[in-house]
Symmetry: C2
Subunit: 240 residues, 2 copies
């Protein structure tokens, strides 16, 4: 970890080079996409440091490394830069062979990618519903759509008869989906799991995982950050 | 190849089981996403048959295999089903080790995936521009945006100093991007390449590739199909 977790914004000095036996993650503490990469780094025990970025006011040196200015972004000691959360996670799993998170069978790997693609249609609801709520709109139809999507994931678990999406132990797809479920209580959406008991049970199993425990924030913390975010003035350093 | 390339619609009898040493592709002859998979099947010399689907009137047996009803969809002799074009292509590259299309180096693989992600922001213009044109709208700003995106890909080739996006021979990323360039003349967008000479040159190199030649249609054929598609009555079997 870097000396300070405080985010770096425009005008801040660039961090030093990435130490030889490390990999660096440019992140934002409350970003669910960057959390995917944090989960993989932690689960695989990869030596890394984290540089948090002020996403409202990005440093020039960060935009030079990644002109898209996205987190998560990985940087290697030789200056290679990798971004887009699923790409960073797959890269880490390929480069660090210890505790493989993706299955070795090509069809099982394809299944995880298809599930991830399906899940990419779920994440927008975690934005649309609270935004609708904040405007006093009726979000019941959005919640019904979300529940329908959850039913597909519930069915996957029912058919597989396993605790997790890739079997009875955690694999990549579980970590790719987890960050949004961690935030459900924060945006008062936990009742959307009431009709999908296997998926609800999955969230309980996930909460027992040491890596999930090590990377998560409390609902109270999320609530404070999220309020500041919705007000257009995100408190990236809340709690430090 | 199946006995006939004619598309199968609702009520048509289901094709027989996938032969043991084959893989089956459910496709639509003019679909650029399915063409990605056709390119990979051809380039790697994989034994396969193709079943074309009437996408306006899908057979029930197809929806049972893939409830999303998407092409491309792959089916193996044991009944495994794989969809989403990049997932099908990566699966084929993993299962059939002859003539690997993805680089073996994890960072180079990540680079190809990042380029593909960037390219996913390009493909919508190939829909938005002709639709705008057909409504008599001014599409010059959309064309300017497309040219800006092309400039990024041109710069990649300039920086790499290579003929193709993964080096001096064709690799996966080239095939993933190609189908849309093949359709540029059909929708009168070729002038959008005028300011990006390296990218234009890339299209010329691609046209020399035997696999590209084997899977492509003429601009005249595309024009007939596209007209029928825009009129809401796609002629999937045109030219058969």
């Amino acid at each position: 970890m870097a000396a300070s977790q405080k985010c770096l914004g425009k005008g801040s000095p660039a961090p030093g080079p990435v130490p030889k036996d490390h990999i660096r993650l440019y992140s934002m503490r409350f970003c669910p996409f960057a959390q995917r990469t944090r989960l993989v780094l932690n689960a695989k025990g990869i030596k890394h440091d984290i540089v948090n970025i002020n996403l409202k006011n990005k440093p020039d040196w960060f935009l030079e490394k990644n002109p898209l200015g996205l987190v998560p972004t990985l940087e290697t000691p030789s200056g290679q830069v990798i971004y887009e959360s699923p790409i960073t996670c797959e890269y880490l799993d390929e480069v660090y062979p210890e505790k493989k998170l993706l299955p070795s069978d090509p069809f099982e790997r394809a299944q995880q990618k298809m599930l991830l693609e399906l899940f990419s249609k779920v994440t927008p609801y975690f934005y649309k519903i609270p935004v609708g709520q904040s405007k006093g709109e009726d979000v019941s139809s959005l919640e019904a759509e979300l529940k329908e999507k959850f039913a597909q994931f519930n069915e996957t678990l029912v058919n597989k008869k396993t605790k997790f999406f890739g079997g009875d132990s955690i694999t990549m797809i579980d970590y790719m989906m987890w960050p949004w479920f961690e935030r459900m209580e924060m945006i008062d959406l936990k009742h959307c799991l009431d009709d999908t008991p296997r998926l609800k049970k999955w969230t309980e199993h996930m909460l027992e995982d040491p890596t999930v425990k090590a990377t998560m924030f409390s609902t109270d913390t999320y609530k404070v950050f999220y309020k500041s975010y919705m007000e257009g003035n995100p408190n990236y350093d809340y709690g430090l």
